[in-house]
């Protein structure tokens, strides 16, 4: 018995450095495999089947995809996702502008910073509700304002032309706050002597910002772009809360359309929903791959 125990501990001692990291990683890896990696492949599998979620599955090959590429609602959602992506990126320069504005030492600056950060703290559902009321005809602040200025009333969320822009504006509010915090941290890390050196070198105003400050904010800009692009692509909650995709499906995005097809009262077309999810996944993978390649390259350089 004694000799047995000592050989076991000897084995552990010899291999501890190799084994310990994997043991620590094991719970995370296991969870990630079961709840992330596996469902991805399951979804891809289901996208080739006709399935109502309960009954028997029927293999239909590319049937779901063929239907999808002839579905006008799909193209509306795709177009809205592109709109989200482009306009959501405004959060990055806007966040930078506010961060630059707040990066000063005035009495009570911490309070102002927290106030600007506040929209990021509250739930997206609450943000959606606030903006719904803000846009609401009759009592909403915006529509009242427009009515007094122009005499006509615009119901932003009931108008196909404006609805997506209205929702994106609501989404920008917390996203700008998020980018602002990222940039404030970045600004904090800049050595003030470098700014002074820039001033001695004759760089002032915009040129000082462009040549000295902005290049040093590159890590912050990178993270801000990543979270904003991914945030735009996975937008769902605001659409769900503010319009539920309406009017007439004009504010749907891919993730919401997927939910509608697969899980809502409008249908239980699991296979069709999975096909939408796969398309969204492919789009996301394009961006994520770009980000990852850049990150790896930077790590190798440093």
């Amino acid at each position: 018995m004694m000799s047995n125990g000592s050989t076991a501990s000897g084995f552990w001692k010899r291999n501890q450095r190799q084994w310990a990291p994997w043991l620590f990683l094991a719970p995370g890896i296991l969870m990630f495999l079961v709840y992330v990696i596996l469902p991805i492949f399951q979804s891809i599998w289901i996208s080739f089947e006709d399935w109502d979620g309960l009954g028997p599955k029927t293999w239909i090959g590319f049937g779901n995809y063929i239907e999808l590429f002839q579905d006008e609602a799909f193209y509306t959602s795709l177009w809205n996702n592109i709109l989200w992506l482009v306009l959501y990126l405004l959060a990055v320069p806007a966040g930078l502008a506010i961060a630059l504005f707040l990066n000063q030492t005035v009495a009570g600056i911490r309070l102002y910073k927290s106030l600007f950060f506040f929209p990021f703290v509250i739930s997206q559902v609450v943000v959606g509700l606030i903006f719904t009321w803000f846009y609401a005809p009759d009592f909403g602040l915006l529509s009242t304002l427009i009515k007094t200025l122009t005499g006509t009333e615009i119901a932003v969320l009931a108008d196909e032309r404006y609805v997506t822009y209205g929702i994106i504006a609501a989404g920008l509010w917390p996203q700008i706050a998020y980018c602002m915090i990222l940039y404030l941290t970045g600004l904090n890390n800049i050595n003030p002597e470098q700014i002074e050196a820039g001033r001695m070198d004759g760089a002032r105003g915009f040129r000082l910002f462009w040549n000295i400050v902005l290049p040093q904010l590159r890590p912050a800009t990178f993270i801000a772009l990543v979270v904003t692009v991914i945030g735009a692509l996975r937008s769902f909650d605001l659409v769900s809360v503010m319009t539920a995709g309406g009017p007439y499906g004009s504010s749907r995005v891919l993730s919401f359309y997927m939910y509608e097809q697969a899980l809502s009262e409008y249908g239980y077309r699991m296979g069709y929903g999975a096909a939408i999810a796969v398309v969204l996944f492919v789009i996301m993978m394009v961006f994520i791959s770009i980000f990852l390649v850049r990150m790896f390259r930077q790590e190798r350089n440093s």
Partner: protein, 364 residues
């Protein structure tokens, strides 16, 4: 022309006055060092000359032109920062050429002047590197290169060697002194290291609490300190101070140590009127003599053997502590009784306010 003149310059941060009225002239081509304890305002004064801090009142002129409210880039000054403040995203060449780029110089001229500066500082092989890939000494040289390339009338250095290790500090000290000889520009240098001040300066400005205590050449400050602060600040280990009672005598001052022995210190003019309490100052190296006019008895408390010399920390009979710079071969050990010879000619005298009444002079 790079002569710098400060006239009744003050600096206030809110209600707090950091610089309390400074008058100073630095001649063209002079190497001027600001020293003082931390918080004395020496860096603030330098930054006011640079234009990085506003001047609350008073005026500043450089090369005869009023620069009190002129933009930092237009004062004809260049600064080397304590942290070097190199731009981390630019190569060495871009760092050095940035100032010229901002002032709109053509590309060829920037390249030519950058190369010339790099040549002078042996930076040629490093031009394409980023600051992160350089050692501390190399970064320091790039920071100096960035200043040189702009061809300023006045160079400002803000504790530039404090981030370097001891041996590199000595080397860079020599390089900066050589640079001063080659360029013959005015240089103003802030440090708290008196070795740097003594070795590099043409003129030392000792500051305390926002005021100038004394201005002079290194040896002038060392041998003829105007007050007890300068006497204690310049020199390492610092000057010993002993409380004595004094009365005037023919041709000098008779002082009595608390332990009993007394001594007559010759002075050129009478310095006190009646009997009074004074502070007697004497440098540690002047206590290592074969004979003295009087001897003080004490006990060695600590001996630091540095090889070339030995620092003895001695407690006198009355409890006062003094340091003695003795020969490197001395055999004194802690606990040993020791008698210290004191030369009257080497003693300085300060009144109760700290003003020097008499400076000792061994050459007399």
């Amino acid at each position: 022309m790079g002569n710098v003149t400060l006239t009744r310059v003050t600096k206030k941060f809110g209600a707090v006055e950091i610089i309390k009225g400074v008058d100073l002239t630095v001649e063209d081509g002079e190497f001027c060092v600001f020293v003082g304890p931390s918080g004395c305002g020496k860096s603030t004064l330098l930054r006011m000359i640079a234009g990085l801090e506003d001047i609350s009142s008073g005026s500043l002129s450089i090369g005869g032109r009023d620069m009190t409210d002129v933009d930092p880039a237009e004062r004809g000054v260049a600064m080397v920062f304590q942290s070097y403040a190199l731009y981390p995203h630019m190569t060495v060449a871009e760092n050095i050429g940035f100032g010229l780029r901002m002032t709109g110089h053509p590309k060829e001229e920037i390249a030519r002047r950058t190369a010339a500066a790099a040549d002078m500082l042996q930076l040629k092989p490093l031009l394409e590197r980023k600051p992160a890939q350089l050692s501390g000494g190399q970064r320091q040289r790039v920071a100096i290169g960035r200043a040189i390339v702009r061809n300023p009338d006045v160079f400002l250095f803000d504790e530039p060697l404090s981030n370097l290790d001891a041996s590199l500090r000595v080397q860079m000290r020599i390089e900066i002194s050589k640079l001063h000889q080659d360029l013959k520009s005015t240089m103003i240098y802030v440090t708290h290291d008196q070795v740097e001040a003594m070795t590099m300066a043409d003129k030392i400005v000792v500051l305390q609490a926002g005021l100038i205590e004394q201005v002079g050449s290194p040896l002038e400050l060392y041998h003829r300190p105007r007050n007890i602060f300068v006497a204690g600040f310049i020199g390492s280990p610092k000057m010993n101070f002993l409380k004595v009672t004094a009365r005037p005598t023919e041709g000098g001052v008779a002082v009595t140590f608390p332990g009993g022995p007394s001594l007559t210190i010759p002075t050129e003019t009478p310095v006190i009127k009646g009997e009074t309490t004074l502070t007697l100052g004497i440098r540690p190296e002047h206590l290592d003599r074969e004979t003295g006019d009087v001897t003080l008895a004490g006990t060695v408390r600590l001996a630091e053997h540095l090889g070339s010399e030995t620092l003895l920390y001695v407690t006198l009979a009355d409890g006062a502590e003094i340091s003695v710079k003795a020969d490197g071969l001395t055999s004194a050990r802690p606990g040993d009784a020791i008698s210290i010879p004191l030369l009257a000619r080497a003693c300085h005298l300060f009144d109760t306010e700290g003003t020097a009444l008499h400076n000792g002079d061994l050459t007399r």
